[in-house]
Amino acid sequence: MILETLSIIFLVLGAFFSITGAIGLFRFPDFFTRVHAASITDSIATLLIIIGLILRTDFGLIAVKLLFILIFLLLTSPTASHALAKSARHGGLLTMAETRDDKNKEAH
């Protein structure tokens, strides 16, 4: 019963952070800031949802498998974000900070 309630709290919090990530994806102004928004879904939402799911198992093999999923997601998602950001940068996309500086230079 306590586990059930705890699991519900974790799952709801995880869902909240997922939605936060999705909304940030729309609200943030450029590519690089959007990657930050998506990384909320990658990190804390995954963590909370998988902890919530583990609390619902009988702590056997299924819990171990969920733990493996968590480990692999936490390993791979920053790598994927980095690959995206790096290729965007090498493709010539400027960050907002840099375009701001360019505009300042033109104004002077």
Binding site: I23, A37, S43, I44, L74, S77, A88, T95, A97
Partner: protein, 164 residues
């Protein structure tokens, strides 16, 4: 094959067999045989690859690594909360910044850990890495400053020393 390689390969054999057993959960002889075959195949591959690149990858599962992971998860939670505030809050608070952090003092093997830790914590993103610097994009200037003066570098370094 010398003694060191045999120990190294047997550690991998134990870890891989444990991983296979936890994933499958079946104890039928046929399936166990399949598991044995796959573990052997991976070990052969591993051995051949180590002969090619001469960089053995030891498993770094020790206490200092676990301590680092726990600390990192704490960082992930706290910085997630601040990014969440930015998402729901006023757009004007958003001041994306870019900065370079020196990494030439960090041992080569720990650089990936460092860059990945930076990316994993929401609000900071490593966008480029070379021999001397890692380029960071952050949602505000403070996070770059806190990375510059913060203790993530020290923690990564401690983890590396603990693994030796």
């Amino acid at each position: 094959m010398d003694k060191k390689t045999i120990i190294y390969l047997s550690v991998w054999a134990i870890v891989l067999s444990g991983f296979w057993l936890l994933l499958s959960g079946f104890l039928k002889p046929l399936l166990l045989a399949f598991g044995l075959i796959s573990v052997t195949l991976v070990l052969i591959l591993l051995h051949r690859m180590d002969n090619t690149d001469t960089e053995q990858q030891k498993l770094a599962l020790n206490l200092s690594f676990l301590r680092y992971i726990v600390w990192l998860l704490g960082q992930v939670v706290s910085s997630s909360l601040s990014v969440t505030r930015l998402v729901w809050g006023n757009k004007k608070e958003l001041r994306p910044a870019i900065g370079k952090l020196p990494i030439d003092k960090i041992p080569q093997k720990s650089r990936v850990l460092y860059a990945n830790s930076i990316t994993l914590t929401p609000g900071t993103l490593s966008i480029d890495i070379d021999d001397k610097y890692v380029t960071i994009h952050a949602l505000n200037d403070e996070s770059i400053e806190s990375l510059k003066h913060g203790d993530m570098v020290d923690k990564v370094y401690d983890e590396y020393k603990g693994a030796q």
